[in-house]
């Protein structure tokens, strides 16, 4: 499903931030990505959600070689990927429900059903009373839950989350992890970048560790 072969990445003419990355993520697998700050986790995730291109090596996403896939085909691939950004990337001028509805709306789904579905998801993450709230009025944890709801609303084949439980209390954290596990059971491949070691203990998943741009597997499942 997702294959990285000898992937390296650098920004501009700078040093390589990722070196010789090799892994294969099977459909429906669950993975954690750990490592200290600056190890290259965000860069690796950017390659996974097609925000950046590698400087070298081969990336295969959903059977497509990224080096030869034309740019016009990338939006369709991006729609198969749900992303929870560390800084949420919510649109400040839209309400919580409009932010969550966005991925389905741009694909042309029936708007009434989209709004209904977005509302249900927000209720599920505990934001039933905050559907019309603008991100500026939400707490960090609430923003994170809106970002998660937006990432999962399109039932993505791959869910990439950067520190998704970083701003929520432990109870909500475990509720969100339960959501990721449920999605994983439905076939979504999940990759979560985290510093939270308790998550690694609670969930059965492969653990990948990045250090100085190099990837190693702490455990494989």
């Amino acid at each position: 499903m997702i294959r990285f072969e000898n992937v390296g990445m650098r920004y501009g003419m700078g040093p390589e931030v990722l070196r010789d990355i090799n892994f294969h993520l099977r459909p429906g697998s669950f993975h954690f990505l750990t490592g200290p700050s600056g190890a290259g986790k965000s860069s690796l995730l950017k390659l996974m959600y097609l925000m950046s291109r590698p400087s070298r090596g081969l990336i295969t996403m959903f059977g497509h070689n990224m080096a030869t896939t034309p740019r016009r085909k990338l939006p369709a691939l991006r729609r198969r990927i749900g992303v929870v950004f560390q800084d949420f990337h919510l649109l400040d001028h839209l309400s919580a429900i409009d932010n969550v509805a966005l991925p389905l709306r741009i694909t042309g789904f029936n708007d009434e059903k989209v709004v209904e579905h977005a509302g249900e998801l927000l209720k599920w993450v505990g934001l039933a009373e905050r559907l019309q709230a603008r991100p500026a009025t939400l707490s960090g944890g609430e923003k994170q839950r809106v970002a998660i709801a937006r990432a999962v609303i399109g039932r993505p084949s791959l869910l990439v989350a950067d520190e998704p439980t970083g701003n929520v209390d432990p109870a909500m954290g475990s509720r969100l992890m339960h959501l990721f596990q449920e999605m994983n059971k439905l076939g979504t491949t999940v990759v979560i970048a985290t510093h939270d070691v308790t998550l690694l203990k609670d969930v059965e998943a492969s653990v990948m560790a990045l250090e100085n741009g190099r990837l190693s597997f702490l455990s494989r499942r």
Partner: protein
């Protein structure tokens, strides 16, 4: 309400002044276009007036022979094919022609003046001026015929120059509009970078993202275009009243026909379309640089 309309934030620096800029551009372009149309119409009128008139002037060192030559010339002119009317101007008519320059009552009775014959030509058949001048020379050797040809040529040159300037102004305004919209769109893209990035990352096609910007800029341009057109219409109405009060056959009359109104209405629409297409191309080019 359509969710697409809210996708870009409302109050953006890029769009704040654009309607006013477009309003000024549309105002100037409409006035330039209207000037071009008015001159074109006046040119036709002037040409008709001048090509249907000629003047025969008889001035002689022997004043006693002038009356005789005028009579003979009138006979030749009235008999010539293509001449509708030939009338000798009275001394009173000549004095009236001089009064604008010399002042009323300042033309003394002993001021020597040539005799003038005003000739009105029929649309068909065309007058053979060469033959007519030759015949006139035989019966009135001091007669000189003026067909206003050099006047017409100079007038046409002037009118064509004014039209070329009007077209040049419209083209310059269009180019300036394109440049302003490119800057405004780029500023809009920079201001809405987060929106563009999010739409891009959740799988929005470039055409979809560009579509939001082009609709936004189309709305701004239409708003500005309507204001500019209204201001231009007010100016044109004022000029029309002013020129009709002035009178005189050589002052161009500002009168807009229904067809010309359609042309002028097309100015804000063309500005809006130019703005929309420019915004789309600018956004598409910018997006093409993103992975």
């Amino acid at each position: 309400m359509d969710w697409r309309k809210n996708l870009l934030p409302d109050h953006r620096a890029s769009g704040q002044y654009l309607p006013w800029v477009i309003a000024v551009m549309v105002y100037l372009a409409t006035l330039a276009a209207s000037a071009g149309l008015t001159v074109n119409k006046s040119l036709g009128q002037w040409r008709d007036d001048l090509t249907r008139n000629a003047t025969v002037q008889i001035a002689s060192a022997r004043p006693d022979s002038v009356a005789q030559q005028v009579e003979a010339a009138l006979k030749v002119l009235r008999a010539a094919p293509g001449v509708e009317k030939a009338e000798a101007l009275s001394r009173g008519d000549l004095v009236a022609l001089l009064e604008p320059w010399l002042g009323s009552g300042n033309v003394s009775n002993d001021l020597p003046m040539p005799s003038l014959i005003e000739v009105t030509l029929a649309p068909e058949p065309a007058v053979d001026f060469k033959a007519l001048v030759s015949k006139l020379a035989k019966v009135a050797p001091d007669a000189r015929m003026d067909t206003h040809e050099s006047w017409i040529d100079r007038l046409i040159t002037l009118a064509r120059t004014v039209q070329a300037i009007a077209i040049g102004i419209v083209v310059l305004i269009a180019l300036a509009t394109v440049a302003i919209v490119v800057f405004a769109t780029r500023a809009g893209l920079a201001a809405d970078q987060q929106v563009v990035e999010v739409l891009h990352l959740i799988g929005g096609q470039d055409t979809f993202i560009a579509g939001r910007f082009q609709s936004h800029f189309l709305r701004l341009a239409l708003r500005g275009g309507i204001v500019g057109l209204a201001a231009a219409a007010t100016t044109i109405v004022m000029l029309a009243r002013f020129t009709s009060e002035l009178g005189g056959s050589f002052v161009p009359k500002v009168h807009i026909s229904p067809f010309e109104i359609l042309i002028l209405l097309a100015v804000p629409l063309a500005a809006a379309l130019t703005t929309m297409i420019t915004a789309r191309i600018t956004v598409m080019r910018s997006l093409a640089r993103i992975t």
